[in-house]
C-alpha cells in the first residue's frame, strides 16, 4: 500500500509469464538462432542428398516400394521427404484408400494439413515443398515450446532442454532436418503440459486432441492427464468442466478408431496395420493371442 492507501504492485515480483505475451519463446533470440541453423542444415542436406540421388538417377527411400499415384520427384526437396516424409507425401496426395491399406497406420493430422494447404494453392505447389515448410514450422514450435516449458520450470533450463533434444546421444538430429512428425509431437506434448499446469483446461485438451491425431501414442498422454483431472476433481481441486474437456481427445480417438475399423473391415485397423510396416508391436506382447 502507498501512503494514500492504494494497492501498489512491484513489477519485479510479478510472475514471469504475466509480463510476457504467449508467443515469447517463439521470438526468443536463442530459439530463432537455433531454428535458422537447423533450416540451413536442412537445405544443405536436402540439396546435397538430392544432388547425390540425381547423379545416380535412382529414387531412393520408401517411395519406390509404395503403391503410389501422382508422386513426382522434385530435385532438392525430395530427399527432405524421404522415409516417414514419403509416407505423408503419399497419404496427402492419395488419401487413405484401398491402394495401400497399411497407410492407415499413420494418423491423419500432418497429411490432412498438407493436403489442405495443397488444395488452397490449387495443387500448383509441390507437396514435398509444403511438407518441408510444415516441418520447419513444427521444428520452430518444438524448440519454442520445449524452451517455454523448461524455462518456466527453472530459469536456465530452457536452453539446456533444447540442446538435450537436438544433440542427444539418441542420435536423432535428423528428425529436426527431414520431414518426421516428432518436432510437432514434442511441441504439442510440452504445450499440453504447460497448459495443464496453468489450468487452461480447454486449450490443453485441444492440444492433446492435435497430439492424438498426429501420432497414435498421443492418446496415452491424453488418457493419463484425463485420469489425473478426474482424481483431482474427486478431491475438489479441479472443476467438473476440466474433466469434461478431458474427454475430447479420447472421444476423437475413439471415433477415428471405430471409423477406420469399419472402413477397412479390420479390428483396430490403425494399429493392426502397423504389422505390415514390419512392426509387430502387438504380436509379441500378446503372445499366443493373435487377435489382430
Amino acid at each position: 500500500m502507498d501512503s494514500a492507501g492504494n494497492m501498489t504492485v512491484d513489477a519485479n515480483t510479478l510472475p514471469i509469464e504475466s509480463s510476457r505475451r504467449w508467443w515469447w519463446p517463439y521470438t526468443h533470440p536463442l530459439v530463432v538462432r537455433i531454428c535458422i541453423v537447423l533450416l540451413i542444415l536442412k537445405v544443405i542436406l536436402g540439396v546435397s542428398a538430392g544432388a547425390a540421388v540425381a547423379s545416380r538417377g535412382v529414387l531412393h527411400g520408401w517411395t519406390h516400394i509404395l503403391n503410389s499415384r501422382s508422386l513426382s520427384y522434385t530435385f532438392g526437396t525430395s530427399e527432405l521427404t524421404e522415409g516417414e516424409g514419403s509416407l505423408f507425401w503419399n497419404i496427402a496426395v492419395n488419401g487413405y484408400t484401398d491402394y495401400d491399406q497399411k497407410n492407415i497406420a499413420k494418423f491423419p493430422l500432418y497429411s490432412a494439413v498438407t493436403r489442405s494447404l495443397w488444395n488452397v494453392t490449387g495443387q500448383t505447389v509441390s507437396v514435398t515443398l509444403i511438407l518441408s515448410i510444415l516441418h520447419s514450422l513444427m521444428v520452430w514450435a518444438g524448440v519454442a515450446e520445449t524452451y517455454r516449458f523448461w524455462e518456466e520450470y527453472r530459469a536456465g533450463y530452457g536452453r539446456r532442454a533444447v540442446l538435450w533434444l537436438l544433440l542427444s546421444p539418441l542420435f536423432v538430429l535428423h528428425i529436426w532436418l527431414a520431414s518426421y512428425m516428432e518436432p510437432g509431437f514434442i511441441a504439442l506434448m510440452w504445450l499440453s503440459l504447460t497448459l495443464e499446469y496453468k489450468r487452461k483446461w480447454a486449450l490443453c485438451s485441444a492440444a492433446l486432441l492435435c497430439l492424438t491425431m498426429l501420432q497414435p501414442s498421443g492418446v496415452i498422454l491424453a488418457c493419463f492427464l484425463g485420469v489425473r483431472r478426474l482424481y483431482q476433481w474427486s478431491k475438489g481441486k479441479t472443476p467438473l468442466t476440466a474433466v469434461v474437456w478431458a474427454l475430447l481427445p479420447g472421444a476423437a480417438w475413439l471415433i477415428w478408431i471405430v471409423f477406420t475399423s469399419l472402413w477397412f473391415h479390420r479390428f483396430l485397423a490403425a494399429y493392426a496395420f502397423q504389422d505390415q510396416w514390419g512392426r509387430g508391436t502387438f504380436r509379441w506382447a500378446l503372445g499366443a493371442v493373435d487377435c489382430f
Binding site: L45, S48, A49, A52, R56, H60, W62, E82, G83, T146, W150, E152, Y153, Y157, R160, A161, L163, W164, L165, L167, S168, P169, L170, F171, V172, L173, H174, I175, L177, Y180, E182, F185, I186, M189, L193, E196, Y197, S217, I220, L221, F224, L225, R228, G278, R279, G280, T281, F282, R283, W284, A285, A288, D290
Partner: protein
C-alpha cells in the same frame, strides 16, 4: 500366427542389419543410442521419484510423465527395437539429465560433461548425415 521375436532377438537382427552394408559405425551408433535410452528410462524414473511434490506438479503431475514414458517407450521396446530412439526423444528420456539435483546441475563440472556429450553427439550426427547423403542409409538409417 506369424513368428514374432522377443526384444533381444530383435536387437540382434537390428545390429546385423547395421553391419550388413559394411558400415560398422552404424553398429556403434545403435548400441550407444539404445544404451542411452535404457539409462534415460532407469535414471529418469529414479530421479522423478526423488523430486519434490511441487516440482512434479510443475512437470505435469505426480506420475504422468513416468507412466507416459513407460507406455510409449518401454512397452514398444519390449516388442520391437526399431524407432526406440525417436519415441524416447518424445518422453522424459529425452531430457532426463534435467532432473538431476540442483547441486549437480549447478556444478561447473556438470557444464563441462554436458558440453562434451553434446559435442560428441553433434559429431556423430554429422557423420550419420554424411552417411545418409552418400548412400549408406538403406538398411539401418530407416530404423531410427
Amino acid at each position: 500366427m506369424a513368428h514374432s521375436a522377443g526384444p533381444w532377438e530383435q536387437w540382434i537382427v537390428f545390429n546385423e542389419l547395421n553391419l550388413k552394408p559394411g558400415f560398422a559405425f552404424g553398429y556403434l551408433v545403435t548400441d550407444i543410442s539404445i544404451a542411452w535410452a535404457a539409462l534415460g528410462f532407469g535414471c529418469g524414473v529414479w530421479l522423478w521419484l526423488r523430486l519434490s511434490a511441487e516440482r512434479r506438479q510443475k512437470l505435469g503431475g505426480a506420475w504422468v510423465m513416468p507412466l507416459f514414458t513407460c507406455f510409449v517407450v518401454l512397452i514398444p521396446f519390449c516388442t520391437l527395437v526399431a524407432s526406440v530412439q525417436r519415441y524416447s526423444l518424445t518422453t522424459l528420456i529425452g531430457v532426463w539429465p534435467l532432473l538431476l539435483s540442483d547441486r549437480v546441475q549447478d556444478s561447473p563440472w556438470f557444464d563441462l560433461v554436458e558440453t562434451l556429450i553434446w559435442m560428441l553427439s553433434l559429431l556423430m550426427c554429422l557423420l550419420i548425415l554424411v552417411a545418409f547423403v552418400t548412400g549408406y542409409k538403406y538398411e539401418w538409417i530407416l530404423f531410427f
